[in-house]
Amino acid sequence: MKDEFEPRIIGFLCNWCSYAGADLAGTSRLQYPPSLLPIRVMCSSRVDPLFVISAFLRGADAVLIAGCHPGDCHYQEGNYYARRRFACVRKVFETLGMELGRLRLSWISASEGPRFANVVTEYTEKIKKLGPNPAKKKVFL
């Protein structure tokens, strides 16, 4: 058991919905894998593509961006911009032949503690199957 691969996922969680959702999952004592390393951002649209690429190249096994559901953004429209930006990064990854499975965008509201736990569990399982991020093995970045 000791050698089993435990993925490390960097999660950019928006302050108003997804971070609160993660809190709720905690206070509700829901069980989910300890693989997510949360970083709180004020809005999902604060996530510059550079953050994602940086995390990926530094060896994060996956990146999760989570924000309010469309229409519920604290700043009215931030998550719509975030979605476009995410689509753009995804396309860059796809065009260059890099793994798309390691990027994920999910909407998790402040009341969706169980959904948060589900997303993390499901994503962790998926990354376990994909294996460690090959960027970890690259010495020369």
Partner: protein
């Protein structure tokens, strides 16, 4: 059919005549064009108000010493032009300028844009070693026949957007057998028609989008596919990227000359981009070795995500790369895919917002999980 001004001189001489006319009749305050500095094929962009100095103007010279879009932005960054200036630029330079205008880095007000059906330009290094002068007859032959001129830049060979979208006047060159004797200038706007009133020459009707142009476009599309296949952009993957960008010496020249890369406070130029000793330590612990300076792949992937949506494929990045990295091929391919995603042609229409600054409420459901 559009209005065409036909001047019985060779294409470049005809265009120079037009510029002289505009200056002497005070229809424009100045002319922005390429000017030769010596006979070896060294040219640079200049602003000219004295019509005698037009002697040295070489508006159609097949070289792009800098992307003029960036230069026009610098001219109008602080304030828009108060008097008209005629600017002779290539289609991709015009598109780059329009993209900069959308980013509030310049103003198109009072510009008269004169562009060409562009046959392409030679790599910068040919200007440095003086080869370009010998190439001119071959270039003209290629232009007349409507072929892809050999030895021009790779991106030019693969360029589909060689007819300008928003020029006031367009000099027809491609497939014109008689460019030695006559110069056809298409007047695309009412402004252009007014400006040339009283100019020596014949006003005729013509079609810019000729069969020769269509043929060249399909030839270039084919060349584009071939270029992408040969470079194997899609098969690069992480290993390919590490290998390709491993040659990078970190001069950031590609970003400096890129017309879209305009940020004054660039992340990659800042101290924040430098790694702390603790970062080196943790990376070494993880990997057992690390490149110095690190973050080369990050720099290029970062630029790709920031720039690709507006990349006009001008090719300046490849031209200045001392390590010969096929940057413009990668940017052209990634740009094409990202632009297709948003159904966007950069620099086509100044009124059309940059895709990342707008949104639809219902879209891209496929990227959500």
């Amino acid at each position: 059919m559009s209005s065409v001004l036909k001047i019985s001189k060779n294409a470049e001489e005809g265009l120079r005549e037009l510029l002289r006319f505009l200056l002497e009749k005070k229809r424009v305050k100045a002319v922005f064009t390429l000017r030769k500095i010596n006979e070896n094929g060294t040219v640079n962009y200049s602003l000219i108000t004295d019509s005698d100095m037009l002697e040295d103007a070489v508006p159609l010279f097949p070289l792009m010493p800098q992307n003029a879009g960036k230069l026009l932005s610098r001219l109008t960054l602080k304030e828009h032009l108060s008097e008209p200036i005629a600017a002779v630029v290539r289609p991709c330079e015009l598109r780059a300028f329009i993209e900069l205008v959308k980013r509030k880095q310049g103003s198109p007000e009072n510009f008269v844009f004169i562009s060409t059906a562009c046959p392409g330009t030679y790599p910068l290094e040919m200007s440095v070693n003086g080869d370009i002068g010998k190439k001119i007859p071959e270039y003209e032959e290629g232009v007349k026949n409507g072929n892809i001129v050999s030895d021009i830049r790779q991106v030019c060979k693969a360029c589909e957007h060689f007819i300008p979208y928003s020029a006031d006047m367009t000099v027809a060159l491609i497939g014109k057998e008689d460019i030695d004797k006559s110069c056809e200038i298409f007047l695309n706007t009412e402004k252009a028609k007014k400006l040339v009133e009283g100019m020596n020459g014949e006003l005729i009707k013509g079609e810019l989008e000729t069969q020769e142009i269509k043929n060249l476009r399909s030839m270039r599309q084919e060349q584009r596919k071939k270029l992408f296949d040969e470079a194997g952009v899609e098969g690069l993957g992480l290993s390919g990227l590490v290998e390709t960008f491993g040659r990078c010496i970190g001069c950031h020249g590609c970003g400096r000359v890129c017309p879209i890369c305009y940020c004054v406070l660039c992340d990659f130029e800042s101290r924040d981009y430098e790694c702390d000793p603790s970062t080196y330590e943790s990376e070494l612990k993880k990997r057992g070795g690390v490149r110095v300076p690190p973050n080369t792949v990050l720099y290029h992937l970062g630029r790709l995500t920031h720039v690709s949506v507006s990349c006009v494929g001008c090719g300046m990045c490849t031209d200045v790369c001392p390590a010969n990295i096929p940057l413009s091929t990668i940017f052209l391919k990634v740009g094409e895919e990202v632009q297709k995603l948003f159904d966007y042609i950069p620099g086509k229409d100044v009124e059309e917002a940059i895709p990342l600054t707008k949104y639809e409420k219902e879209e891209f459901a496929e990227v959500e999980d």
